[in-house]
Symmetry: C2
Subunit: 450 residues, 2 copies
């Protein structure tokens, strides 16, 4: 009998997060204040984020304790299984061994609760009563709704109107967990009202939703803070529970990955799996390859520039040193909504610049095709985002077959696609299109960075 | 640290199914041929079902080996976790300990694949190339689509048209796994065409969809068979992996249930959890209570009669000895589509008659309220069907609080509700209604049994 799943006990769940900054040869440059262009201070950030999260954002400590209250909620779904994809291997007739870390088993169906829970916890500890945030496709909004509920914090989610109308299941999930979900632009904020005055039928954007959520937090400093589901250092930090578990599970499987793969939007699921493996490499251990997979329609890692740029469209956030396509780059309306972000986080950008991370861009017709193959062979319907990691794993496995050599591949199944099945319908009906920006489009967008 | 989840290793997964018939003081009466009213023979059934499944349907062996090929696919999601519902306990402020078996973690999101996989396997072994079946809300259809894919068997699902139109996600799930899904009535069968001729806008019923699926199988005896997701003995048999795992996991938790609870449609998730515990009682062990929970709108166990009755509306199936509301009883259109069935399986009916099983009926406003509480405290959004088991567990826990005594409760979380979130929307908006049939309605329906 070939073991299929490698499972840890609750006692083997990591008790600390791993902060890769401690091991980086070149630490990321500091974020800059949007107006003064000086490094932002803790004080400036504290109007927006909880204190403890700012500490973590700036920390250079190698390990940070996970509070017992957070671990208790993690145990609802963690440790997650590491799975040998024997069905996929067989279908590809490959000598490669393929493993995946299954983060789709969380209540919200993705890796997002790994950071939603500590973010809600630290805000709760500080006496914050309300969290505001934005969401595109809704994975992050539902994760923070779930997390807020556990600490009795009210959650207000500004959801891009086009998704709010098209994806009612994610909204219903948030409401079932007790969160309030508003279509953005809304009439609750000045930025929302301005957008509606300009165009009453405005379908919204992630950048505008961020503006609404931040504005709401700034207006209620006594009891409200803002939170974000990716990009930032503390978010990546929280996700390292994924990779730490996977390191232990690969040891159980008596295997060592040659390549570790994650899909890439803001960087959190990728970093969560990859950083604990990259630690071994940074500290002189095995030469594991680490691959970030982005959609061909939003190719910041492979075709963007390394610049200081804003995190949002309107330019309210600090300037972050990152690979970017320009903060007002408008990615095509692909199905992997979680990967439609113009920039990468500061840590991953530095690691890419320094050659510790590889990147590749794959069009969505190829990724969804790989997703269907995975659904048929491994039984789990993957999120459109996660199909990017699967497609890259398939490429690696087919290359191993061509070269007739063994290879051990590990990828992150960041979420399931049960609420995203329309993407598969489009693929199956042949209606799915690919979009690739031209060099001129990217250049123009980069030129707009102030 | 209180342990939250009790997990078995793959090697601890049961290697046999448990057949409770071997331990019943009164075995169930035989099914009768719909025309001759004589006990049906293996030969008569073999036009519809695979041979090995007919053997299991009639078996009195206590244990039946699970083929290695089936175990291999079970290992995609099994063993499933047993979870201590600490969050729910805290919210109810109860001295009771509440555990649940989490069957919602399967690829299709419910317990249904436990029987879909062996049914597909035995048909495949017999050289069958195509399986037909019906589905209401779609849980069963998606499970058999998943299972058929693994053995290269084509799957044709006849889905009640009103659900086909209203629940596109389940249909898309089936199609993603490669099954064909037709709205019923369809123009592919004589029974479908007859219904459409009578009413071109006919919205269908489960009974009609059964007729279409059975007809399709009967017309292609060379390579096609029919399959069913509940009610029958062999289906309940396959589900006993649930309870066997739970028996071992309760031992890990050093606990013994006082009451074991499952929601009840045709009986498969209920029997799957309860029978291995009931075995202890039937063989002189602990006096565990076993409770089947049905919707107040479809109260066959609490208000039906013990009769020979048909499994379908049209009267094509064998007559089964069961608690029934009459085979053309029309249950209200409640959200727990999987519980809208007029009769109970033969084994459970006999056990209820003999006092080994208790039954209770709960209205859906109470069950969905319990479902929301569960989603908020335990993080998992339960299927509307499963909320019936949760509501009964909540009643037991509140009774324990009133009486100030300890009690150990175990229930089956048969599925998740991610694709059924509209039920929660209706509940949250106050639009959800309860329906209870009158005594006269039930009497009239029972009088129509020939």
């Amino acid at each position: 009998m070939k073991t299929k799943k490698f499972c840890l006990t609750e006692r083997q769940m990591p008790a600390q997060w791993y902060n890769i900054v401690a091991d980086m040869p070149n630490r990321p440059l500091p974020p800059l204040h949007p107006v003064t262009r000086e490094p932002v201070t803790r004080e400036q950030l504290s109007a927006v984020f909880a204190e403890e999260l700012i500490e973590q954002e700036m920390s250079v400590e190698r390990f940070i304790d996970i509070p017992e209250e957070v671990q208790e909620i993690y145990r609802i779904w963690r440790p997650t299984p590491l799975v040998r994809a024997t069905g996929l291997e067989k279908a590809l007739d490959t000598p490669a061994k393929i493993y995946f870390k299954n983060e789709s088993v969380s209540p919200a169906g993705s890796h997002k609760p790994n950071t939603a829970v500590p973010q809600a916890y630290y805000n709760y500890k500080q006496g914050i009563r309300r969290l505001t945030t934005e969401t595109g496709a809704g994975q992050w909004g539902s994760a923070i709704a779930f997390a807020g509920r556990h600490f009795g914090i009210d959650v207000e989610v500004y959801m891009v109107r086009v998704s709010y109308d098209q994806k009612p299941y994610r909204r219903l999930m948030m409401q079932t967990w007790g969160a309030q979900c508003f279509p953005s632009p809304s009439d609750r904020t000045a930025s929302g009202r301005a957008a509606l005055a300009k165009d009453p039928a405005c379908s919204g954007s992630l950048g505008l939703a961020i503006s609404e959520a931040v504005e709401m937090a700034l207006q209620h400093p006594e009891d409200t803070r803002y939170c974000l589901g990716s990009v930032l250092n503390h978010v990546l930090l929280h996700q390292t529970v994924i990779g730490q578990e996977a390191v232990a599970q690969m040891e159980m499987a008596d295997a060592e990955p040659d390549v570790v793969i994650g899909c890439f939007g803001g960087g959190s699921n990728f970093a969560g799996l990859a950083f604990p493996f990259l630690r071994k490499r940074l500290t002189g251990g095995n030469p594991v390859r680490v691959v970030a997979v982005e959609p061909a329609s939003c190719p910041k890692l492979t075709r963007g520039a390394f610049r200081y740029d804003f995190g949002d469209v309107a330019g309210y956030t600090p300037l972050i040193p990152m690979y970017t396509l320009g903060h007002d780059f408008q990615p095509s309306d692909i199905h992997a909504g979680g990967l439609r972000y113009h920039g990468a986080g500061a840590i991953v950008s530095q690691l890419l610049k320094d050659g510790f991370v590889e990147a590749c861009a794959i069009p969505q017709t190829e990724t969804l095709g790989a997703g269907i193959l995975f659904a048929k062979t491994e039984g789990i319907i993957p999120a459109p985002e996660s199909t990017h990691a699967i497609a890259a794993a398939v490429r690696e496995a087919l290359q191993a077959r061509e070269e007739g050599r063994e290879k051990t591949i590990l990828f992150n199944l960041s979420g399931n696609g049960v609420i995203d099945l329309y993407a598969y319908e489009q693929y199956l009906s042949g209606a799915l299109k690919d979009y690739t920006p031209t060099d001129a489009e990217i250049r123009r967008s980069l030129d707009r960075i102030a």
